[in-house]
Symmetry: C2
Subunit: 284 residues, 2 copies
Amino acid sequence: MLVHTINEVRECIKKWKKEGLTVGLVPTMGALHNGHLSLIKKSVEKCDKTVVSVFVNPIQFCPGEDLDKYPRTLEADEKLCQNAGVDIVFAPSPKEMYGEGHILSNDFLTYVVPPFFYVDKLCGKSRVGHFDGVCTVVNKLFNIVQPDYAFFGQKDAQQLIIIKKMVKDLNIPVEIIPCPIVREESGLALSSRNKYLSETDKKEALALSKILFNIKACYDKGIKDVDALSETAYGFLNEHHSLEYLEFRDKENLEQKTLADDNTQVFIALRIGSVRLIDNILLG
Amino acid sequence: MLVHTINEVRECIKKWKKEGLTVGLVPTMGALHNGHLSLIKKSVEKCDKTVVSVFVNPIQFCPGEDLDKYPRTLEADEKLCQNAGVDIVFAPSPKEMYGEGHILSNDFLTYVVPPFFYVDKLCGKSRVGHFDGVCTVVNKLFNIVQPDYAFFGQKDAQQLIIIKKMVKDLNIPVEIIPCPIVREESGLALSSRNKYLSETDKKEALALSKILFNIKACYDKGIKDVDALSETAYGFLNEHHSLEYLEFRDKENLEQKTLADDNTQVFIALRIGSVRLIDNILLG
């Protein structure tokens, strides 16, 4: 069922809670692909009822980012959800989520702000304010849907870590279920932004997964030194790639590692032309 | 029942929710007086179950403020609650609320940050970060207790306005019930910080309510000009008083008024020696 207003969602949730049913939430920005589908399937399997939110959240885009051209495919998204057994597709307007009559900024809106230590690195470094927007909208969705479980992909690893930290810090009564990255056969991690890639770009984009898989293979062979592991990346890079970061950090608290261990997560962000792609792998 | 851990509270709440009972929350910093009692009574009357939280929240005190000497009277508080029919007194330790092992700051904790326009004035001007701490702890308490209703005193008017804004902005499923200021016969608004006042100070403290009552009387007589209304205050001030602010603002969005109307709230903060007192009145 496609629903556009907060009140309609609340009505359903209220009824379900009264019946003692469990609720799963899969927050998305739409343009659903098989990565999202894996989250949705997990929720449908685990929970009595599943809500998928489809909302391109304006406050998590930075100036100059792709807010306006971000792919919007609601009709197809709804069909995919219906076939997967989703109970509610919640697709609110920006006005429904943030009201109108004022600029969307922390001058006039309450924000949920993740810890500085978690956002001053990796994607947060280039996307200033991005995770404030993410935490704020996810907090709102949690308050609207009141899910027992919420499903997040490990593809956006820093986001997942920050959401888990928010849930812990604010005592939010929800269990976060991390879901593994879904990849094309080529190794490319699924992402709505892959739609921006030409066929040639797509081949260049394989560098991300190749670099990560190779680092994991080297780690498994016994190389623990992060500098040595990092250096193995350069063989996969060419003039079409602009490496934003390749970092080795703790999978829970994002502290930097100099020696890799089983709790080390490797994060990569790479630009191919104007398209920015991310990927990550856990070494353990 | 006195409870110190989040898990114990959650257990009770879960049971109550299953039985379909409504829950009221009265968040306090303890040192309970008749002002708090009026909130508690309202909750006990309105809700099936009432939780009173007693927590001197470290992150809402600014450097140099009275965190350490803030009055703590848990035994008396518990008795007062028991007599009033409260079901749970929730008195967690700072460690229970914020964990341990790191400094309490936005470097390592997720904060709920109210809009800048609401905090750059009145008490927020001198108490930088205060309302971030308030919103964060109230958000946590809401997530722990999941109340249907939460009761706040109109004495801390800016706080009440900011909490209502937070609830709206973050879609928190709770109804905020504002409760009128309780005053001594003298007119002095009840406050836990009144305990800091000597007998002489207490007489000087009457200036706050006298100024507000007089402004209201002048307004009722037809004076609408804010400058003229402000000037009536000086007759009540002497060398023992240090006026921090006397402001006329909209009761909902805190916009400044030049002409008073029925939606105008008058806010005052006054220092008497080292004690800082606040009060307010609605003109309508």
